[in-house]
């Protein structure tokens, strides 16, 4: 009711939100009268047409929600505005909906369609916010809608929407756990996502929905490690924690050999039991450990899994994060996973966190306390950072004290004790008590200082503050129990204290001590009992019990002197008000005073009372807490919190590490354009992190793709990896430009392979050989380079593929590594990719050259099979064919004449970045000599007038046996004149020349049928050349024609209505003159070739080439 009046008040203006809630509005009348129409004004405002009124109303409603007032009765009025155009109103309506939808399920359903529409919006932010609100509406009926929306969003183009989808997963899961299986599928898909934006959120979803499905991580492990540094802070924490658990299940304990020997033995010993009277079980533990260690020593030496190393290396920089949670996460990861020698690095970072807010200090100190028990050495250099200031909050002081105590050892104990001395004088009594306890612990742990500590504590007995004295007594009692015989004078001193000390606990402790060691103080003990008997009635219960105890013990040892006293005390106790004391008295009397009734037990009375009692073990409350994952809530509470995932023990033997090898990068439907843009910008920022990922991992193909267009150097190292993986990778990622560089390397690998398997290839089918021969001839006629025709099988092989369309090559590549029985799957996959290529058309392709790997592992029958498959698709899109075709490799320098250095070149048919008028020529250098080739560069270029050359960047070093590639650009001025130059190494110069086939002097142009006809009409007469020909037997379908023509010349296909005609268009590279080719076929295999080009020389030459291609 106060609320209602408050709203009336608030009408005044938006600023009144914070005004007193108890306004006196006469209109509000009685307490209940206004209740049922209390929000009428707000409803009116919401129903109005003015956005400003609606906004005002929504603001007031949200303010109500914020203060925890109930605004649910406004639901119908608010939900009407969900489709409001005004974005501000809309946002507030969303806020309202999320809060109240659960309570008003039926009405909430009215708003669903708005969000469903929002999910289809072209703007990614609107899609994301629609999904966010939709998934936040906790209404079970819409679970199927949510599921659908999440699934759709998980394959959205925008990473931001995908991130939102990841957030929605746990929401749906908490609403309906039955959806788990479906959600896991979505999680699996999102885990494969390569963007940093998504990584943290999806791991969060993974942790909430299916933390037990560790198998989902395998494939993404390396990617997550590599992305980690670029993920936002909160995501880092979640990922690191998850990876800690993962690593515990997958890798071997890095401390497997030394840890048990050192820590199990000496480490614990100095702490808790140098006295030898340890608990039995501890001894057993030791034995066990020793046995284990012995067994382990026999094992083979430990070698760290490279993936384990990768995780440690990639998390280390995060110790420098500004976010304490991230630092803590890395620290716990190192604590749980790193070899002992490396754990030390975390100490400095943790000490840094002690400068932060006191809550952060509190948590960090708790964790440090646990760590110091196991790894004391780590924090010893930072001892002084744990010194206590008088302004610290008490809870921090006590934790610091704990750490200091844990750190104490023989060398630093004197400094620590000096510190403790200052602390004892503190005003904060809780802290002083804790300090005295700490001193006690130091004394038990470090034998050398026991006497010093004891003396210090005894001095404290004369302290004016009773609490201090009492605490000291309790601690001294514990210390004395360890070696009572030496300290009878202290016991005497304490006996004297009974006159003064009033704190019951302390009195009780003294009495217990005297009773226990009455033999050491035979004269004083009875006297103390006498005094106590006098004051018995006034004592506290706990003291009375100890008086009884003392009496009983004295009676047993010194019955002559104390018999009467004991009787007296027992009588007093018999009539005590407390039944506990009465019971105890009766029990003792029966036990110690021999009567005819007392049976067998009294014989053992002495044994019962004066048994040797084990000394109490003073140990840290943080001992054994490390079985909880550090940094977790459960660790802090020392109790399992809900949803806590146990940190698994190290496996005995490492599971198969190959599960983490990434075979097929998941094809995510997300547009690679989106990603690519990111990558492009990202590179200068984050590329620094790449150096890290390089050297040691092998076959880590995932890391390359994640780091964008990585340098070839990184991938070159992966050469040792299993070949099958790599080749698959290459084939799948073909279209993705960011991976093109990688390809270069793959190609080289193939080359090597091909060279190696030359002999095998000789056993190929005859058919193939024939094809090869014919090609060889063709290449001779085409390019008049008089390079040695005994060219090694590499080049001829590459040519043998020329006739086949690039589609074939793709198919072949796809199949070559997979079992040949799976062509269909591959085929569909390829289809998809082409689609994506299409919408990437406007994106300027990177200038990096594309050379498709040459292979000949396929039987030709399979090839035709595949051809058939691809033909079954209705129309081949021109874009799919034109840009990257098969390329012939030409020899520039043979390895014999080049003294081991062989150079090939090919026309990559990519635009040459720096100069659009140049033809890109890709060179492959292979150094098969025994020595390294250095400073590979060009010199002394001799050109026809008008021609220009852009040199390839100098290659500083080409080690023996290595290969590399470079790209140069040549402007041939639309002529087939050769470009001559010298290729120089540090020692030699070679004269070489590059001559282009005429088909390479042009670039494809995309045009429509109408445009084509129009252009053709303008290039008639002299500019038109027509030839009749008979098509080769194998070349009588449209598809084959397209393949052959595009292999011969770099032209793109023009869509065409009739299937009797194939049209191609292009422009010369430097002149830009149009080149139009038409092939009209007849039923009987004859055809007419028409070529329109304003440059007649080019035209005639091209006609020749195309004719040759089509007839042979």
């Amino acid at each position: 009711m106060s609320a209602s009046s408050a709203f009336n008040d608030e009408k005044g203006g938006s600023s009144s939100v914070g005004e007193p809630e108890y306004g006196h509005d006469p209109a509000s009348g009685g307490i209940f009268s206004s209740d049922y129409k209390r929000h009428d004004d707000l409803k009116e405002m919401l129903d109005s047409n003015k956005d400003s009124l609606k906004l005002e109303a929504m603001k007031r409603i949200v303010a109500m929600i914020a203060r925890g007032k109930n605004a649910s009765d406004l639901f119908p009025a608010v939900v009407k505005n969900v489709a409001c155009k005004n974005i501000e109103v809309k946002k507030l309506v969303y806020v309202y909906l999320v809060r109240y939808a659960e309570e008003q399920q039926d009405l909430a359903l009215l708003s669903i369609s708005t969000f469903q529409r929002g999910l289809k919006d072209p703007n990614q932010l609107i899609r994301a916010s629609a999904l966010r609100v939709l998934s936040s509406i906790r209404v079970t009926i819409i679970v199927p809608i949510m599921m659908l929306a999440i699934k759709e969003a998980a394959s959205d183009m925008s990473p931001y929407v995908r991130k939102t989808a990841a957030h929605a997963i746990p929401k749906l899961y908490s609403l309906d756990p039955d959806q788990k299986d479906q959600l896991i599928e979505v999680i699996e898909k999102l885990l494969a996502d390569k963007t940093t934006l998504v990584a943290g959120s999806v791991v969060m979803a993974f942790e909430e929905v299916c933390p037990e499905r560790i198998d989902l991580i395998h494939k993404n492990y390396r990617k997550l490690c590599n992305l980690l540094i670029d993920v936002e802070e909160w995501g880092q924490v979640v990922i690191i924690n998850m990876l800690t658990r993962y690593a515990r299940t997958q890798f071997l304990n890095p401390n497997i050999n030394e840890s048990l020997l050192e820590e199990g033995g000496s480490g614990d010993k100095t702490f808790y039991g140098s006295d030898g009277n340890d608990d039995d079980d501890e001894d057993e533990e030791d034995k066990e450990k020793k046995a284990e260690a012995a067994a382990l020593a026999k094992r083979k030496p430990y070698v760290m899994d490279p993936d384990h190393r990768l995780l440690l290396r990639n998390t280390k920089p995060l110790l420098q994060s500004r976010n304490a949670a991230v630092v803590m996460a890395v620290a716990q990861l190192y604590f749980h996973l790193a070899p002992k020698a490396e754990v030390g690095v975390i100490a400095k970072a943790l000490v840094r966190l002690l400068r932060s807010h006191s809550e952060v200090q509190y948590v960090v100190l708790q964790n440090v306390a646990t760590m110091t028990i196991k790894r004391r050495g780590m924090f010893e250099p930072y001892l002084k950072s744990f010194y206590i200031r008088s302004t610290d909050p008490t809870q921090i002081k006590i934790l610091k004290l704990e750490v200091l105590t844990n750190l104490a050892n023989e060398t630093n104990i004197s400094t620590i004790l000096r510190e403790f001395q200052t602390y004892i004088k503190s005003v904060d009594k809780d802290f002083v008590a804790a300090t005295i306890q700490a001193i006690g612990r130091c004394a038990t742990n470090i034998g050398e200082v026991r006497d010093t500590c004891l003396n210090g504590l005894v001095q404290l007995l004369s302290n004016r503050d009773e609490l201090v004295v009492a605490e000291s007594v309790v601690v001294i009692k514990k210390l004395l129990q360890m070696q009572p015989e030496k300290h009878s004078d202290i016991i005497k001193h304490m006996a004297k204290l009974t006159d003064n000390i009033q704190v019951p606990m302390a009195r009780a402790s003294i009495l217990w001590l005297i009773g226990e060691y009455c033999e050491h103080v035979p004269k004083i003990a009875p006297d103390v009992l006498r005094k106590m008997a006098k004051s018995f009635t006034n004592e506290e219960d706990i003291v009375k019990l100890q008086i009884l105890n003392l009496a009983a013990k004295l009676y047993l040892t010194n019955s002559k002197q104390t018999k009467l006293l004991t009787q007296y005390v027992l009588n007093l106790a018999k009539y005590d008000q407390n039944y506990d004391i009465r019971d105890r008295a009766r029990f003792i009397r029966q036990l110690i005073v021999p009567t005819e009734k007392s049976g067998a037990l009294s014989k053992y009375a002495k044994k019962l009372f004066l048994a040797l009692k084990p000394a109490p073990v003073l140990e840290s409350p943080f001992k054994d807490r490390d079985h909880f994952q550090l940094g977790s809530l459960s660790h802090l509470l020392n109790a399992k919190a809900g949803g806590y995932q146990e940190l698994p023990d190290w496996p005995e033997a490492a599971p198969d590490p190959s599960v983490r090898n990434v075979e097929v990068p998941e094809w995510t439907k997300c547009s690679s354009r989106e990603k690519r843009k990111e990558k492009k910008v990202e590179k200068p920022f984050y590329s620094d992190s790449e150096g890290e990922s390089g050297p040691t991992e092998s076959a880590d193909s995932e890391s390359y793709s994640s780091s964008g267009s990585d340098s070839a150097s990184a991938s070159a190292e992966s050469g040792s990896g299993s070949q099958s993986e790599e080749s698959e990778d290459a084939s799948d990622s073909e279209e993705e430009e960011e991976e093109e560089d990688k390809k270069k390397v793959w190609k080289k690998e193939f080359k090597k392979l091909a060279q190696g398997s030359e002999s095998e290839q000789s056993s190929e089918s005859d058919e193939r050989k024939r094809a090869r021969k014919s090609k060889q001839q063709k290449s001779e006629s085409e390019s008049e380079t008089d390079g040695d025709e005994e060219s090694d099988s590499e080049s001829s092989q590459s040519e043998s593929d020329d006739s086949e369309s690039e589609v074939d090559v793709k198919n072949k590549k796809a199949v070559q590594s997979k079992a040949p029985s799976k062509p269909v799957i591959k085929e569909t996959k390829k289809e998809k990719k082409e689609m994506s290529l299409l919408d990437l058309d406007d994106f300027e392709p990177a200038p990096s050259p594309q050379v498709t790997p040459v292979n000949s592992f396929l039987s030709s029958s399979l090839v035709t099979d595949l051809e058939g498959l691809s033909l079954s698709d209705s129309v081949l899109s021109p874009a799919a064919i034109s840009p990257s075709g098969t390329q012939k490799c030409y020899e520039l320098l043979h390895r014999i004449s080049g003294e081991g250095l062989s150079v090939e070149y090919c026309f990559s048919r990519q635009p040459f970045g720096p100069d659009a008028n140049m033809v890109a020529v890709q060179m492959h250098f292979a150094n098969s000599a025994a020595t390294d080739a250095k400073n590979l560069h060009m010199e002394d270029v001799k050109l026809q007038s008008g021609m220009r050359v852009t040199d390839f960047p100098e290659i500083e070093l080409l080690p023996a046996g290595e290969t590399t590639t470079a790209v140069m650009g040549i402007d041939f001025c639309d002529s087939t004149q050769a470009a001559n130059f010298q290729l120089c190494t540090h020692s030699r110069k070679f004269f070489v020349s590059i001559q282009p086939p005429v088909g390479e002097l042009m670039k494809p142009v995309f045009m429509t049928e109408n445009e084509f006809k129009k252009e053709q009409g303008q290039l008639m007469g002299m500019n038109e050349i027509t030839e009749k020909l008979t098509l080769d037997v194998k070349c009588r379908n449209e598809h084959a024609i397209v393949q052959r023509v595009s292999a011969a010349a770099n032209l793109s296909r023009v869509p065409c209505g009739s299937d009797k005609e194939c049209r191609f268009a292009g422009r010369t590279v430097s002149g830009g003159s149009l080149v139009l080719v038409t092939v009209a076929t007849e039923e009987d295999g004859s055809a007419r070739l028409t070529l329109n080009c304003e440059k007649m020389v080019i035209g005639t030459m091209l006609v020749k080439d195309v004719l040759l291609a089509l007839t042979q």
Binding site: V364, V427, G643, Q645
Partner: protein
């Protein structure tokens, strides 16, 4: 993760609640109030409390408690850091993070909270991104808003979240391009009774205020980076560059931010700028005590010590202080038993002195401990560690920015034991 958030003021009123999952009744806070009662001082409230069904994690900042309710396992630091981030963000937005300010901007605060978490997991925490979505109030805008009924919600959709530089908003434009860096060093020290150093270290922080157009890429280098022992960076700093070249290379966020914090290596002896001669004693008999404090310059590198302030937490038994100060003035708060002596500038010729008598509650035993002195001071234009910025270069933009570096040394946790 984080289930709900309650903002509670010093007296224990809940004045804002926000739930990211289903609603949790505010009665859950009763457990917190119980703990708060028990702890007496707000600093002593345990940051993490366990209740039968929930866990409560709280921080105390600016006389406010931020109380997060969680239900399942979550790293406590994660929540604590997030709560501080919330407080920082509010501070950023409104220049202050107090109950009054939050109540005045309740709707904006609620919207900020809505954006910061999604289902309890942080969504947008960079203030550059948030400010694009929900514009901070300015005087001009609040005037316009009252006239037109507009609000602070951004009408354009933010892009910052989508960029790969999440900490910087796009389309920044300034007429005056400037980049200022403050190198601030704090001396943490504990001196014992005789004036010798028990413990001393230097912690530094570089605060930046960068207002540059476009997407500048900055490089900051030091003359003597070897001094830095342990560092932590804003996420914008490229860590690899730092590791290999010891320069800070970064694309800055727009506005004020903390670029880095550092710790000066412990091999270097820490220069202690002042010495303190003190004598505080209480008589065994008769309820009084004496106090005599003199402060003088020690190693000030030729600079003047300013803003000198001595704070002493007196024992509870001290009733009043009757002192005379040769410089500055002193106050003694009877309720909190805190003696504050505001000295001001330290004059080496005439050392400031405070002496006089303390009256102790009659009958009370002589206070056990002598109170320790907390000292505050600052020295302008000096980084006590000797750290020097070498140069600042900007890439990626054509204009010439105005650059400036300022040094300041001040006392951190500087304590003299008596």
């Amino acid at each position: 993760m984080i289930h709900s958030l309650f903002l509670i003021n010093y007296t224990g009123d809940i004045f804002l609640e926000k739930h990211w999952k289903s609603v949790i009744n505010r009665s859950v806070c009763d457990y917190f109030f119980e703990a708060k009662e028990k702890a007496l001082e707000p600093e002593n409230v345990p940051p993490i409390l366990q209740t039968p069904h929930h866990y409560l994690i709280n921080i105390y900042r600016g006389k406010l408690f931020f109380l997060a309710v969680i239900q399942t396992e979550v790293p406590p630091l994660f929540v604590i850091e997030f709560l501080h981030k919330v407080a920082d963000t509010l501070q950023d937005y409104f220049g202050d993070c107090s109950e009054g300010v939050i109540k005045d901007n309740l709707v904006t605060v609620y919207e900020i909270l809505e954006e910061m978490l999604d289902n309890g997991f942080p969504l947008a925490t960079e203030s550059n991104v948030l400010q694009e979505m929900i514009r901070p109030p300015t005087i001009l805008r609040s005037v316009v808003n009252t006239l037109t009924g507009g609000s602070n919600v951004g009408d354009t959709l933010p892009t910052g979240q989508l960029s790969n530089i999440p900490w910087r908003r796009a389309g920044v434009k300034y007429t005056n391009n400037e980049a200022y860096f403050d190198v601030i060093e704090e001396i943490d020290a504990i001196l014992d009774k005789s004036g010798s150093t028990v413990f001393a270290e230097i912690q530094g922080v570089i605060e930046a205020c960068v207002r540059l157009t476009g997407m500048p890429d900055l490089t900051l280098s030091f003359m003597n980076p070897r001094l830095l022992d342990d560092v932590s960076f804003h996420p914008c700093v490229r860590f690899k560059r730092w590791e290999s070249e010891r320069v800070l290379s970064f694309i800055p966020p727009d506005g004020n931010f903390t670029l880095m914090t550092y710790h000066v290596s412990s091999q270097n002896l820490v220069a202690i700028p002042v010495y303190v001669k003190q004598n505080i004693s209480f008589m065994e008999t008769g309820s009084c005590g004496r106090l005599d404090i003199t402060i003088g310059p020690k190693q000030t590198m030729g600079k003047t010590v300013e803003g000198l302030l001595v704070t002493i937490h007196m024992p509870k038994a001290v009733l009043s202080a009757n002192l005379t100060a040769t410089q500055g003035n002193y106050t003694y708060d009877l309720a909190t038993k805190v003696l504050v002596w505001d000295v001001g500038k330290l004059n080496p010729q005439k050392l400031p002195n405070l002496r006089g008598s303390l009256s102790v509650q009659s009958g009370a035993p002589k206070p056990e401990e002598n109170p320790s002195l907390n000292i505050d001071m600052k020295i302008q234009q000096l980084a006590i560690s000797g750290l020097k910025v070498n140069r600042l270069d900007m890439y990626g933009e054509k204009y010439k920015p105005f650059k400036g570096v300022k040094y300041l040394t001040r006392a951190g946790k500087f304590q003299v034991r008596t």
